[in-house]
Symmetry: C2
């Protein structure tokens, strides 16, 4: 099912927008007040290009919050649940931003551009206001802004070859969650070994919107003969990989422990927003957990959360689901009552039989 979406100037366009339309983008969603393609050839065809060749995604809607200035590191440390004292320029980390109650405000990738300059590469939410508000009222000596940065993801097993043609062989040596500043025809960009696919891949953080169309064309030219295809962030592969979508699989009513992200919380390091609440939560233990679920049979859709039952009782919700060609079944992400969260538990999803699984369904290629 799709709905009709009325364009308006309020829904911003990425610098790749016209290129994506020409490349066949046929449906969109709105993410950070921006249009982002959700469909070209279709999820299964795009999945095959992603896992067998190389896929190119307009994720210009993944906005950056830049924190720069003398207090930048101190403020960033206060905002994220993970100790970032050791985060050096050229390195990135997946982080949880929490509110005072320990709920997840956002789950960005944090990039350290310099010892006094960071980017939070956001999921869908105006985290700019969160950071600006805390910087202002907390008296931090920083500048907080949304810079002109438009990410493009190049993901899949043949992405190193494509990227090497474009930037040189050094990209083959770039390690997971590392990045380097680079240039293309004078346009500044950041090349990172990050992405939202679970496949080997890159993000190009373009720092000059005017170069968007040209970058898109150059990426596709470099992909010639490699099976390169335009795609939307692939729901099948990201669910297989246990990769979460903010606003879909979690929001600020969920804490990192419930998501299984204990490794992203340093309770004994520097102080951060939500630490006290998370300490209490750690002592108390969780009463629900994020799990995978397999639902056999016909493809299932989740335009809203789907209720889960276990032993005739409400036991949580499925937040994301996709039909996986690999498993020839639906794979889903669900927040389940701990009593129903043990792998192998038989549950009911919107009236259909499902089985609980550990996440991820498929390990990431790093």
């Amino acid at each position: 099912m799709t709905l009709r979406l009325t364009p308006s100037a309020r829904l911003r366009r990425s610098p790749y927008y016209d290129a994506t339309r020409r490349a066949g983008a046929s449906a969109f969603t709105v993410y950070n007040h921006m249009l982002i393609p959700t469909m070209y050839a279709g999820p299964v065809e795009e999945y095959r290009a992603l896992i067998e060749a190389v896929a190119v995604w307009d994720v210009g809607a993944e906005r950056q919050v830049e924190v720069a200035g003398p207090d930048a590191r101190r403020l960033v440390q206060y905002l994220v649940a993970r100790d970032v004292a050791g985060l050096r320029p050229g390195r990135a980390r997946y982080v949880m931003l929490c509110n005072p109650g320990g709920g997840v405000v956002n789950d960005p990738v944090l990039l350290c551009l310099a010892d006094d300059r960071f980017w939070l590469s956001l999921a869908d939410r105006d985290v700019l206001l969160w950071v600006q508000g805390i910087a202002l009222a907390g008296g931090y000596d920083v500048a907080v802004r949304e810079p002109d940065v438009s990410p493009l993801q190049v993901q899949g097993p043949r992405s190193p070859e494509l990227m090497a043609r474009l930037f040189g062989d050094w990209v083959r040596e770039l390690r997971y969650y590392r990045f380097r500043e680079a240039e293309l025809e004078g346009a500044a960009l950041v090349v990172a070994r990050t992405g939202w696919s679970g496949e080997y891949g890159y993000e190009i953080f373009l720092r000059d919107a005017a170069y968007g169309e040209r970058l898109w064309d150059r990426v596709f030219a470099a992909g010639e003969g490699l099976g390169v295809a335009p795609g939307a962030p692939n729901q099948i592969r990201r669910i297989e990989g246990g990769i979460l979508s903010y606003g879909t699989d979690m929001d600020d009513s969920v804490n990192p422990f419930e998501l299984g992200f204990d490794r992203l919380v340093d309770l004994d390091g520097e102080d951060f927003v939500g630490r006290d609440a998370l300490r209490e939560a750690a002592e108390r233990g969780v009463d629900r957990l994020l799990r995978g679920v397999v639902v056999a049979g016909e493809p299932l859709a989740a335009p809203t959360h789907l209720p889960v039952m276990a032993g005739g009782e409400p036991a949580g919700r499925v937040s994301s689901v996709a039909w996986s060609p690999r498993f020839e079944a639906n794979v889903a992400l669900a927040l389940l009552a701990t009593g129903a969260a043990a792998p192998g538990t038989e549950i009911e999803v919107a009236g259909r039989a499902g089985v609980v699984q550990e996440l991820p369904f498929v390990q990431a290629t790093r």
Copy 2:
């Protein structure tokens, strides 16, 4: 032109969603991460129902930020550019929230529910994070949350009759920007003489999402014989009324003076975020101003901002435009260089001839 929109659980549904689909909502936009109808019979048909009878709009996406507690008034005062010391329970005000640079963070309606409890009734942006961030880092003794509140607008000359049938004759006496807490079949709500139409009208702030469908049905039952029709927030009438849309006509790169909202800024009252910058801006004067523009001829669309030229030079942008049956011309909102902003100035909008006008095109019925 419309695009296809892919549903997902990330795009929240208002409690009126199913009712709007049944009532013929055929296109949507995304506003505060929520689906909101943009089309039923069409903008002109809906405009006629609005100005001649009564229109009902699902504006559940107009989320509330509730600020409650001992420091609520002090925090709200710090957040808004207007002096609110005199704002008593049962009264509302249209306010500007600014950032430290004086740019507009949002333009909500502020409702005083009690001396220590306020709602900010938001335009499209996660202002919850702004308020929570400042409350946290500033050490304010308040609770800041998004309550279960889903507004429905009932607008148009026959709205008093509809509302009186539903709530009693007291609603006829309710003055502009006043509100009262009420109940319907045990469901709590707030009835306010506010709205986004420029016509005489009401907002019903439903405080119990479970009652959404029933409220929708009761409103239409009460409208029988009055020409009641479902509608989307009407772009024609709001542009005629000079009513702005956040994210379309303004954002945080624009200050209230440029929007002609001098009356919403109290530079000599209590301190608020952005006061210093706005004092400087007031001294310096503006170099652009929001104006109306009439563009004759065929209907014009603005899926993005449209460039404006005056005397062969770039002179600003049109942000919103609609074809007005009343004027048999396009009416637009534009941010224009002051040199091109005098009423009567002839300009060019996307290559077509336009004439600058004072706002509003049509006075509000209060």
